[in-house]
């Protein structure tokens, strides 16, 4: 009996050492790895990534049932999207076009289900291009056409010009984009190429670029509107950028998002894209 009592402290000590070593091993050396988890088991930062992704997904496919299912899997609600958009807006996330696109997608998705937050006021859905533009060109070309040695269209001419005859303009062009919503014009890129003086330049090929391809719009085909005018109808599921190849920067990404016109009618966002010569 006394022999057992003598060993008891050592046994208890050994037991605690064993338990401690086991816990340390399980926590620090070889922790249990949970695999095949569902989205609702993700960490909050990962859930935020998922929220952003599902909002962007909705902005492309417009399948609200898919977004709802993903949100359910994530263990979140519509208001959580609006709240997350609000937090992102107040962080540096909104400092890039990519961030703005994501926040706008979140605002739009949340708003479609009646959920709003602070981002809804700061970055309303459907405005399509919240990116501020530092400069604005004159609102309309005001100077009359000036005689020129180069073959250009007269404003009264109605036939389409032979584009190859018109020289490519020299010099650099600044690009300026203004979004608008009008029930009479749905998802149209209204392009104008101008001299620095404001005079329209016909026959300029403006590249229209979307993620998997590109097209071209030539100015001067609607001289009754403006010699430097061209337009392009956007596909509702695409985002576009415009440039005069080698002569201008690319515009911001332009997307025909649903919008509400001043009179209350629904339409898709259109854009006035103005290339104005700033040099050369």
């Amino acid at each position: 009996m006394s022999k057992i009592a003598a060993w008891l402290p050592f046994l208890i000590f050994g037991l605690f050492v064993g338990i401690g070593a086991g816990v340390y091993y399980a926590v620090n050396i070889d922790p249990r790895i949970v695999t095949d988890v569902s989205p609702d088991q993700l960490s909050e930062p990962d859930k935020l990534n998922y929220l952003i992704a599902l909002s962007l997904g909705y902005s492309r496919d417009r399948r609200i049932e898919n977004a709802a299912l993903r949100l359910l899997n994530l263990g979140k609600e519509w208001q959580d999207i609006a709240d997350a958009a609000c937090e992102l807006t107040q962080s540096g996330y909104a400092g890039t076009n990519t961030g703005l696109t994501a926040i706008r997608a979140m605002v739009e998705l949340a708003a479609s289900q009646g959920a709003t937050g602070c981002a809804s006021a700061l970055i309303p859905s459907g405005t399509a291009t919240p990116r501020p533009e530092p400069t604005r060109p004159p609102p309309t070309p005001t100077l009359p056409p000036v005689p020129t040695k180069t073959p250009t269209l007269e404003p009264a001419q109605t036939e389409a010009p032979p584009v190859a005859l018109t020289p490519t303009p020299a010099g650099e062009f600044a690009v300026n984009v203004v979004a608008f919503c009008d029930t009479r014009v749905s998802g149209v890129l209204e392009i104008t190429v101008r001299e620095g003086s404001g005079r329209g330049i016909p026959g300029v090929g403006v590249a229209v670029i979307w993620p998997e391809g590109r097209g071209q719009a030539f100015t001067g085909l609607k001289p009754e509107r403006d010699p430097g005018y061209a337009d392009y109808v956007m596909s509702s599921d695409q985002a576009y950028q415009l440039e005069i190849p080698g002569r201008s920067q690319r515009s911001a990404r332009l997307e025909p998002l649903p919008c509400t016109a001043q009179g209350g009618g629904r339409s898709r966002a259109s854009y006035r894209v103005i290339f104005q010569r700033v040099g050369g």
């Binding site: 790895i33 949970v34 695999t35 095949d36 988890v37 569902s38 989205p39 088991q41 993700l42 990962d46 990534n49 998922y50 952003i52 992704a53 599902l54 962007l56 997904g57 902005s59 492309r60 496919d61 993903r70 899997n73 076009n97 990519t98 696109t101 994501a102 997608a105 389409a160 149209v188 229209v208 979307w210 993620p211 998997e212 391809g213 097209g215 719009a217 085909l221 609607k222 337009d231 392009y232 109808v233 956007m234 596909s235 599921d237 695409q238 985002a239 576009y240 950028q241 990404r253 997307e255």
Partner: protein, 92 residues
């Protein structure tokens, strides 16, 4: 994110591809895929795209994956049918 079940990883990748179509920011797409901790994000997207194609998944989702994969430099033969352009220019 790396512990997600494969179906959710695939779904997340589809969403990231849709995000790329929305913002055109390839670096952002790569950054968004980084939490998945796949060995090579480029071949990973290619593999997901080809798997969706072979399993005849949703055409719109496949299209997004294909466009992202091609943007990452992996544009394989099975992807070609999903790269057809859709916009039409306005009538003069």
């Amino acid at each position: 994110m790396s512990d997600l079940a494969r179906r959710y990883k695939d779904d997340y990748t589809v969403l990231v591809a849709a995000g790329y179509l929305a913002d055109g920011d390839l670096q952002a797409a790569i950054d968004r895929l980084a939490p998945l901790r796949v060995g090579n994000v480029f071949t990973y997207v290619r593999d997901v795209a080809e798997r969706y194609i072979s399993q005849q998944g949703d055409a719109q989702e496949i299209r997004g994956l294909v466009i992202l994969s091609c943007a990452m430099g992996y544009c394989t033969a099975p992807m070609q049918p999903f790269l057809l352009p859709t916009p039409t220019p306005a009538a003069p």
